[in-house]
Symmetry: C2
Subunit: 355 residues, 2 copies
């Protein structure tokens, strides 16, 4: 979901952006028309997230999935082919994918896991394994609906976090991290742009055999213009960031996000028909799974199917749980207003009465 | 440059695509709303290019620059770290970049080069080096304005071609190639989507250490949905392909492209002030560089600067030659109508008289 004013501005500027006489899709990426667009997007990121001067903001491609490989390739792999140790915390599917890719280029040490309880909590973070090149966490876990309650202390080991589904949803102290990365398609804009915020000193560590397109040093040196970047995605991200700034910035949207989440969790915690499977201190602000209290498997599945179908008919879409865990899930990213959650609660109340 | 009807349709559908009530930028990539969009884009590619059934059409990210690494990683690298030989023809900057990346994972043999004459011709293609895993060419060279006059015979060695700047500009016999690839930003749509057309049997050759996102086998198996694809770019490409089909298809656009190019080359070949530096049989249909006949360096530079400035004032933009070669360059991709070339010729005639 994207803010309506952003889409309306994009539509209005489709054939003539900023008086250039052309669409952003038609601009050369090194032109005087496009440069202010990417520079403004970076400036807004720096302002909204309070990014320190010794961090670079990169606009790349390939989503979090490509970062899963780029991070170990740049931080842990070495010329000789030896593998450096890296520390990861396993909080579900996306954390596991990051570990699978890292294991190709690094010695992966899973310091903690919440697999024992179906990933319904964030484990307390152990210190990094000795000699770790980095320490990786998945800040918000979309499928199970968990979120790190606090930034783990990793000593001098660079902390790397996937914030694809939580970026700009609440304040985060960038200076505590070595790398923060996010696919754009949750809170930022269209799929196809990846934002990487990297501490400068971490960018020059890749061995010579790493593909040019996967090297942070090249992208830093070329200011994201080593090859043609996803110009239109960067433009839309800029519009979203401006909307966020105009809406009061990160603290303001965080208040809205906490209110939206509180409304849903309060409802679930007192509902006779549904519950949240996630431990309270680990609950996500963005993705809220809920499960029927019905325990008979066939009846439970019937309730889920009816819920998703009738909700869609009432204009509440995308409420099926992830195919790996089932149940239902409300994804309430920045662009979802409080009214959207209130409409969902009204539907749930009526649905419960009909059970 | 994109066709105006495409941009107008995109603007009209920005908040409600195909009656879905949402923007394509908001669609889940596995949803019933998005699947027809990617399927239709593929079907149009197959129809317009006559792609045989044993080829797959992939929608990836990272541009040609990432393909420069993916091709050797998938076709030439082996588990043990040994390097297989690959054959490349050097026709300029982009061919050189493909060779540089390949040299990280393969034993690169440059079978021919036109560097001796500043890349102003396509060399005749020698047979592939013994045991070559593939044979790579850059079909159209944007900077110097050359194009392969015929498909080289590589025997049983898979022919791989970068067609970023010529895809769908004229018919090409796909069955003669192992892989064809193109960044979208020239003839297809917005930057950020890469189209790869790959013969099925070539997709399963990557060693296990290749990043998941760089493996053709994974993208084939997941039908370009291994991770979230650049949905909006794929949507725009679909609109461009539909426009091309409605305009009569590839043969019709090729007639227009040949006419546009002929107008410009005929003018240049008889001009007293400008000339084309490219040998006749190697001339591009898409990128036409031209150089003042003035030989005094200072005067030549002055003519170039005045030309670009006055042309821009007359609404003819992007006519500076590439920063690596100087001069001027007209890029006349599919979306440029004959009238655009005629306007340029009128400007050039008037400019010549003023010299």
């Amino acid at each position: 979901m994207l803010p309506l004013p952003v889409l309306e501005k994009a539509a209005a500027e489709m054939t003539d952006a900023n008086g250039s006489g052309q669409s952003v899709m038609e601009m050369s990426h090194r032109s005087a028309d496009f440069m202010p667009i990417i520079e403004q997007a970076e400036a807004l990121f720096r302002e909204l997230m309070g990014i320190p001067g010794n961090y670079r903001v990169l606009f790349l491609q390939g989503g979090a999935s490509l970062q899963f490989a780029m991070i170990p390739l740049n931080l842990a792999s070495v010329e000789t082919g030896n593998k450096a140790p890296v520390t990861l915390v396993d909080t579900g599917v996306w954390a596991k994918k990051a570990a699978d890719e890292a294991s190709k280029y690094a010695e992966v040490i899973i310091a903690a896991s919440s697999k024992d309880k179906a990933y319904t909590y964030i484990p307390s973070a152990p210190p990094p394994a000795s000699g770790s090149a980095y320490y990786h966490i998945t800040w918000n876990n979309t499928i199970v609906g968990t979120r790190w309650p606090a930034i783990p202390d990793t000593g001098g080991v660079p902390l790397v976090a996937d914030i694809s589904s939580s970026i700009l949803s609440e304040a985060i102290d960038v200076s505590r991290f070595g790398i923060l990365y996010a696919g754009a398609q949750k809170n930022l804009g269209p799929a196809g742009t990846t934002v990487v915020i990297i501490r400068e000193d971490l960018a020059g560590r890749a061995p010579s055999w790493v593909p040019a397109m996967l090297r942070y040093d090249i992208h830093c040196k070329e200011a994201s213009l080593y090859n043609t970047p996803p110009c239109y995605g960067i433009y839309i991200i800029g519009l979203v960031l401006q909307w966020l700034k105009d809406s009061g910035g990160v603290d303001a949207i965080a208040r809205v996000n906490r209110k939206k989440a509180a409304l849903l969790y309060e409802y679930l915690d007192s509902s006779k028909s549904f519950f949240s499977p996630v431990e309270k201190q680990s609950r996500s602000l963005m993705n809220i799974p809920f499960i029927p209290r019905e325990t008979d498997p066939a009846k439970k599945t019937a309730v889920e199917k009816r819920f998703v179908k009738e909700a869609a008919a009432a204009g509440l879409v995308n409420l099926a749980g992830h195919r790996l865990v089932g149940g239902m899930r409300a994804s309430i990213y920045n662009a979802m207003p409080v009214e959207g959650v209130q409409a969902l609660l009204r539907f749930m109340e009526a649905f419960e009465k009909s059970l």
